[in-house]
């Protein structure tokens, strides 16, 4: 479909969402690490709500040993280790590349220290080609037994506040599920000045080959994603929606339109698609089409009539 046809097809249902000040033509965007320029061969990026390239680090990084992925029932574990060409390459090549599309660019940042987050957010946030920042405070792959900034509410607050202080672009914190109470991290992000929350990154996981007695991944541990984790994500979106006023971007295990709708009912205003693109390269466009048919089927005109609208009739008291 051309962009024009797409626009007219959208007229029936209102898909526009506002994520912490960032206007999206529809709620579907890629998950960081599952999207990149070479996907232009399989889908038109103009149809997406936003583009979101892989997390960038300040300096080039080699990434982890192979195998970097392994399959598990209903999902996969990855330990890419944020292979990255560094911020300079990103500014020179990645940001300009996406200017050809009529789709906002969300830059995902990974850093080793609060200072580095601030420094990178300063450079990227104040770059006119970047429309929003997603702070990957949650990547479980980095050294240190998977420990991440987003595991500590105080660190999250401090990090967010400092980044907030140097840039006005919409700021999304990507939370980690590897915590005891995700609401605490959500609130720390909100108090620190984040504009939205991505819920969530991958769960720290491990898989052992019982025939060789070796870990399946070169890095031993990795993050699990895919349909198997979706019910846990729906629960987390629901909990965060109750606790925080910030818009939520749901992420984890969305394979089709109904999965996206489920996350929106739980409270997500937008949805990221990651692993599904590995199974079906054009999965994001399918998800979008399926959301539209769902809305038509139920006579829903505006996507906002879905967001956070899960019913509890059977539990209501009076």
């Amino acid at each position: 479909m051309s962009t024009l046809e797409q626009k007219s097809a959208n007229q029936g249902c209102h898909l526009r969402v506002n994520i912490g000040g960032l206007e999206l033509k529809n709620p579907i965007m890629p998950a960081s690490g599952a999207f990149g320029e070479s996907m232009e061969k399989v889908l038109d990026f103009n149809h997406l709500g936003a583009v979101l390239p892989k997390s960038i680090t300040k300096y080039p990084r080699k990434g982890n040993d192979t195998p970097r992925v392994c399959e598990v029932p209903a999902g996969m574990i990855n330990s890419i280790g944020i292979q990255s060409k560094g911020l300079q390459y990103y500014l020179k090549n990645i940001v300009p590349y996406y200017q050809q599309y009529d789709t906002p660019l969300i830059a995902s940042i990974s850093a080793d220290s609060v200072e580095e987050f601030v420094e990178m957010a300063d450079i990227l946030g104040n770059n006119p080609g970047v429309d929003a920042l997603e702070l990957n405070i949650s990547c479980p792959n980095l050294k240190g037994d998977g420990l991440a900034f987003g595991m500590d509410a105080d660190v999250t607050y401090e990090l967010t506040k400092k980044v907030r202080g140097i840039t006005d672009v919409p700021l999304f914190n990507k939370l980690t599920p590897n915590v005891t109470r995700i609401q605490d991290i959500a609130l720390a992000s909100e108090e620190g000045g984040a504009d939205a929350l991505t819920v969530v990154n991958t769960f720290l996981a491990m898989s052992i080959n019982v025939h060789t007695w070796k870990p399946e991944l070169g890095n031993v541990m990795g993050g699990i994603s895919g349909p198997g984790v979706k019910p846990i994500i729906v629960r987390m979106i629901y909990q965060v929606y109750q606790a925080s006023k910030l818009p939520i971007i749901g992420c984890g295990g969305v394979m089709n339109g109904e999965d996206a709708i489920e996350m929106m009912l739980a409270g997500a205003s937008a949805v990221q698609v990651g692993t599904a693109s590995f199974i079906k390269p054009a999965a994001m466009l399918d998800v979008l089409e399926e959301i539209k048919s769902y809305m038509q089927q139920y006579g829903i005109n505006d996507i906002y009539d879905i967001i956070g609208k899960v019913h509890f009739n059977q539990y209501e008291e009076g």
Partner: protein, 275 residues
């Protein structure tokens, strides 16, 4: 030019589509052969390229599986795959029947390069590696390029493509564990013998790190251009996830490049072979 700049040259549409299975049969104890209708493909397929195939067991095998093209038949617009049954994915693939469709994404990756003026090439395949090199032998035969092939396998049963290669007029050497002939030193002797008798313009290998190191050694000493088709566990197969990487040396620098996008075929001398 660096390997990483390659994909920019080949910007084109890659389709993910259902293709019709024309046959899918067991050809030996561990190997299967599948023929599909390729008439709907968006672009030409080159030897060394691969398809990312949905083997069909959604609940069990989750990710797709990469398979290189075994034969490319332009006249009747079909593609052939030769696959070794290994785990969940390949076992599920054997269940697909003639007349059904299989979802396949491709052609993907960079294929082999065969110089126009080449006269004789050497193929060194281990096990199912021949599935990847066979399409090159087919193209060589079409272009009138002579071919010498060394096929290494566990048993005679696994030396599937030998007859097909002989049909292309190739000089075929078979070595197996069964015969106790597959050790590296014996293969070295065979290669030395071939290169002593013929002027080899290029060499290609797939399927064994041991044999690839051997070929790397011989071809660098003799200054023969060589290529290798690599295998690595894949995520997206389209260059975005950085799962299937390998290290190459370019400009005295180690770079980690993607097997699915910059490969699976690489210049043999550039690849850092893990022990």
């Amino acid at each position: 030019m660096f390997l990483e700049d390659l994909f920019l040259l080949g910007v084109r549409v890659v389709k993910d589509q259902e293709v019709k299975i024309l046959s899918n049969i067991q050809v030996s104890e561990r190997y299967w052969h599948m023929v599909v209708d390729a008439s709907g493909l968006a672009s030409d397929v080159e030897p060394g390229q691969f398809f990312y195939i949905d083997c069909g067991q959604e609940n069990e095998s989750f990710l797709r599986r990469p398979f290189s093209v075994y034969r490319i038949n332009q006249d009747d617009q079909t593609l052939e795959f030769l696959y070794l049954t290994k785990g969940l994915g390949t076992q599920a693939l054997t269940k697909l029947k003639q007349g059904e469709t299989v979802r396949s994404f491709g052609p993907l990756g960079q294929g082999f390069s065969l110089q126009e003026d080449a006269q004789k090439i050497l193929l060194l395949a281990r096990g199912v590696g021949i599935a990847t090199l066979a399409a090159l032998a087919q193209e060589a035969s079409k272009k009138g390029v002579q071919c010498a092939a060394i096929l290494s396998a566990r048993s005679h049963n696994d030396l599937l493509a030998a007859e097909m290669l002989q049909g292309f007029g190739a000089e075929v050497h078979k070595v197996t564990e069964e015969d106790g002939t597959s050790d590296v030193e014996n293969v070295r002797d065979i290669i030395e013998d071939i290169t002593a008798r013929h002027n080899i313009d290029a060499a290609y290998t797939c399927g064994s790190r041991r044999l690839s190191r051997l070929l790397q050694d011989i071809t660098s000493k003799k200054d023969i251009p060589a290529e290798i088709a690599l295998e690595e566990h894949m995520g997206c197969a389209m260059g975005v996830c950085y799962a299937c990487v390998c290290d190459v040396v370019e400009d005295d620098e180690i770079r980690t490049v993607r097997v699915c996008l910059e490969g699976p075929v690489f210049p043999l001398q550039k690849v850092m072979m893990q022990p």
